[in-house]
């Protein structure tokens, strides 16, 4: 995986995770290109695009577009499953997650992502295990905050 982007229907970025080192200017350009390409797609088209030498897999959930760029050898259908799993995890944590949750709690969205993916690969294939970890970390965070640790 090369990068994961979340953006709204108006093209505002809500989350960005880069799995390969990219200069700042290039990141901005990629974000612009991705949003333009994905937002231009008509509703009843397939979820795969070609961009440069990468395959781009995208899916729309409510008002957010989830966009993942993968290598040529990777499995696109599995990438769709990965996006879906991440949405499910967000939903489990926030309870009926919506875009506002991700806007106001973006750091938590990152923490959840970091329990699911590491270095561009899935680290835990069991949804329950990841959800349990996130809960544990969340309570740990709260108790640390209370105890000023």
């Amino acid at each position: 995986m090369h990068f994961l982007l979340l953006f709204s229907r108006q093209g505002r970025l809500r989350l960005q995770k880069w799995f390969t080192p990219t200069p700042e200017r290039e990141k901005k350009k990629i974000i612009r290109d991705m949003t333009a390409m994905v937002l231009a797609r008509k509703p009843k088209t397939c979820n795969f695009l070609h961009w440069m030498d990468l395959k781009v897999v995208y899916k729309r959930y409510a008002s957010l577009f989830f966009c993942l760029a993968i290598d040529d050898q990777e499995n696109e259908l599995l990438a769709l499953e990965i996006l879906h799993r991440y949405v499910e995890l967000l939903d489990k944590y926030f309870g009926n997650v919506c875009e506002l949750d991700i806007i106001f709690n973006f750091e938590k969205a990152y923490f959840i992502l970091d329990e699911f993916l590491i270095g561009g690969e899935v680290q835990e294939t069991s949804k329950q295990t990841v959800a349990r970890c996130i809960e544990r970390l969340s309570s740990l965070r709260n108790s640390c905050r209370r105890l000023r640790l």
């Binding site: 397939c46 499995n75 806007i103 965070r141 640390c144």
Partner: protein
């Protein structure tokens, strides 16, 4: 107020800004405050300040001043601060930043921390942005973590090792033993990471690959367990047990089985089992089946299994889900060259996909259809492709057009069909075809001599209907110029008769000449065609044509002006040559087409001996400045040589001598040597068959501007009588641009 609300408060304020300028103002104020806070001593709100900065960074504003704060926070003993610090490091620091090296030590310490959550933070960050330096430093730590500790840490350490191997491949040897041991793990997360690590190691090191081939039975066993296991709440997705792990194992098996018979045999049964038992009604199952198909096609599988795989792809083609149709066509594209017959069976479905709404699916279907065209199905396929061409999105038009041309060239059942197909493409997608199409088509038409009548009728009809497609108009003009007489005759056996008068043709050509849609190249074609109609075989009437042509004598376009002036000269001074100049073009050969920079040699050419159509075309007009008197001292014979067009000579054709002057017993012959590149060597041979000597014989020559002339010294200047001796002179002609001059010259 709890500090976290401050972050959310800031987000709310930023979002409520009504304009871009207002937002910038808010953010500038906040950044200034954050900067000030960073400079202060520890006040308990550091993590929140950094979090605010990270939000601002995501909106696209610069945040580099937060880098040092990340380093400080990572070193903090507090968990929450560490966490935000590491998050900041992953967002703001990458291996290109100098500050990233500063956190190496912190990471090292945290990797040995007592709390596994702190360890996990360090592992995650290293795997995300670790540079080669950092990886080299910390690899031993990671190796240690791979062996000891809980599954929670092991799975993260494994993926961290994957990152290290990608960055520093030599360190792969360090992780190989641990990776092998990890295959025995029961925990799916760790197993998944282990499979990925082994995949990376095998891809980078051939010896490791050989070593891990021994693990194939173990992998097969794990896979079989997954496929046959029942429902498990932990891992089942849509009826498939842990599709993520299954796909990764299949990918590893693909790499291990490639080019190796033993390994491929060991996995044959398993692959068949997966292919038949996996339920593909949902994406998870389809993902596993897809990976299985890719693996089967890549290893040395037995033919039954390959057929099974292609059938799965065929089933995918009929699936309602567009994604699955798309990926099935992608896979079929990969195997169409090796398993052509198997893919042919699904041709009908693929052709139907040409009509799909989705542009990506259409593109895939087009590429596959072009790959599936063969001599047997060419007629039906071409019908579908032409239909597609008329409705396809503009970005695919030129690809489709060139694909159709290639297919037509290779498999056309008849010349007439070929010409019809090309004409159809030009009418539907004329603007998107490549430049070579026009000369290629012209060459095709000249070769199909029995179809000249039919072709010119069709082209005339198309021209009258629509003059906007430039390639079509160019070809039509050329044909009318060449074969206009068959058009005037009116009847043609292969198409309906049409009454066409000379004036109709001239009307059509004039419309082309005057239309603003015509490019200068097209106008050149039309002008030459108009001129050719004056040739006696065309029964052309000079008056109207002459007036059309002379208008362009003052045209702004230099090429057209030159042509018009030269054609006018043909009418005035060289009327006796006009017939010869405007003769029909000879049949062109492919090699000669290629040499003229993709432009055809249009216009009139003197037809030389019919057996040698490929000689350089030369127009020689003998014009004696003074008569050669019999018996008297000679006079100069002034030969006006116009070197016309450079159709490169086919080296296999022997050069022949052409008689260019034959008067009062003096015969002058021209013979051409084999051309080298752009230059030609011509030998002039003069013989005297009369009874009197000719003396003071001189030869002068003139050539057009783009040709260089070099005349060598003649062997003598007197011609003794009765052919007792000859005088020869060598002339070197050099045409560096290999383009014919403007005189009835090359079009376009």
């Amino acid at each position: 107020m709890s500090p976290s609300v401050r972050l959310q408060e800031m987000i709310r304020v930023i979002r409520s800004a009504r304009t871009q300028g207002e937002e910038r103002g808010v953010i500038q104020r906040e950044c200034a405050a954050i900067r000030a806070q960073f400079r202060q001593a520890d006040n308990g709100g550091r993590s929140h300040n950094l979090a605010k900065l990270l939000y601002v960074h995501m909106l696209g504003y610069p945040a580099h001043f937060g880098q040092m704060e990340c380093v400080r926070l990572i070193a903090s003993p507090r968990y929450n601060e560490k966490r935000v610090g590491y998050l900041g490091a992953m967002m703001l620091l990458d291996e290109n930043q100098d500050a990233s090296l500063l956190i190496t030590n912190s990471i090292k310490n945290d990797l040995a921390h007592s709390s596994q959550y702190v360890q996990s933070l360090a592992l995650c960050t290293l795997a995300c942005m670790g540079s080669a330096e950092m990886c080299r430093d910390l690899a031993p730590e990671i190796d240690r973590l791979l062996r000891a500790s809980s599954s929670y840490i092991k799975k993260k350490a494994t993926l961290c090792a994957v990152h290290i191997v990608r960055k520093v491949p030599e360190l792969g040897e360090l992780f190989t033993p641990a990776a092998r041991a990890l295959l025995a793990e029961k925990n799916h997360g760790v197993l998944h990471g282990a499979v990925i690590l082994i995949t990376e190691l095998c891809e980078r090191n051939a010896q490791t690959l050989v070593q891990f081939r021994e693990a194939v039975p173990e992998l097969v066993h794990i896979m079989r367990g997954l496929v046959t296991s029942g429902y498990s709440p932990e891992h089942t997705v849509a009826g498939i047990s842990d599709p993520f792990l299954q796909v990764r194992i299949l990918r590893l098996l693909r790499i291990l089985g490639r080019n190796n018979d033993t390994a491929s045999d060991a996995m044959n049964d398993l692959l068949a089992q997966v292919a038949t038992n996996t339920d593909s009604s949902k994406t998870a199952g389809s993902a596993v089946l897809y990976e299985t198909v890719l693996t089967v096609m890549d290893i040395k599988s037995e033919s039954g299994l390959r057929v099974l795989a292609v059938n799965i792809l065929g089933r995918f083609l009929l699936n309602n889900d567009r994604n699955i149709r798309y990926i099935s066509m992608t896979s079929l594209q990969k195997i169409v060259s090796t398993d052509h017959n198997a893919v042919q069976r699904h041709r009908g479905t693929i052709v139907d996909c040409l009509k799909d709404q989705d542009a990506s699916v259409k593109r895939r279907a087009l590429e596959l259809s072009l790959a599936l065209v063969s001599a047997i199905n060419i007629r039906s396929m071409m019908k579908e492709l032409l239909l597609f061409l008329s409705t396809c999105p503009p970005e695919l038009k030129s690809h489709a057009a060139s694909g159709i041309f290639n297919a037509a060239e290779r498999y056309s059942p008849s010349q007439r069909w070929h010409i019809d197909t090309i004409l159809h493409v030009l009418i539907t997608a004329g603007a998107d075809v490549r430049d070579e199409t026009v000369p290629n088509l012209i060459q095709l038409i000249t070769n199909a001599s029995q179809l000249h009548c039919y072709t010119v009728h069709k082209l005339y009809r198309a021209l009258v209907a629509d003059i906007s497609q430039q390639p079509l108009v160019q070809v039509a003009c050329w044909c009318i110029g060449e074969y206009g007489d068959s058009l005037l005759q009116g009847d043609c056996e292969e198409t309906e008769p049409i009454q066409v008068t000379e004036d109709d043709i001239l009307d059509a050509l004039e419309t082309v000449l005057q239309s603003h849609m015509s490019s200068p190249a097209t106008r050149g074609f039309a002008l030459t065609a108009t001129m050719k109609l004056t040739s006696p075989r065309q029964r052309g009437e000079g008056g109207r044509i002459r007036s059309i042509v002379s208008i362009y004598g003052s045209c702004m376009d230099v090429e057209l002006q030159q042509r018009a002036v030269e054609y006018n000269a043909l009418f005035k001074k060289y009327d006796h040559m006009r017939a010869a100049v405007l003769e029909k073009m000879p049949v062109m050969d492919r090699s000669s087409m290629g040499q003229t920079n993709g432009e055809s040699g249009g216009g009139g050419v003197q037809e030389l001996e019919p057996t040698k159509p490929k000689q350089p075309e030369m127009m020689v007009a003998p014009q004696p400045a003074s008569q050669v008197g019999g018996g008297e001292g000679g006079g100069a014979v002034f030969l006006y040589i116009v070197y016309y067009g450079m159709v490169t000579m086919d080296p296999s054709v022997a050069p022949a001598a052409v008689t260019v002057y034959d008067k009062s017993g003096v015969v002058l012959k021209l013979s051409c040597e084999r051309p080298l590149d752009a230059s030609q060597t011509i030998t002039l041979t003069a013989t005297n068959t009369s009874d009197h000597d000719v003396s003071s014989l001189t030869l002068q020559a003139a050539v057009p501007k783009n040709v260089q002339l070099q005349m060598k010294a003649p062997s003598g200047d007197s011609l003794p009588a009765r052919s007792s001796a000859v005088v020869t002179q060598t002339v070197l002609l050099n045409n560096p641009n290999k383009v014919g001059p403007g005189w009835a010259g090359t079009p376009g």
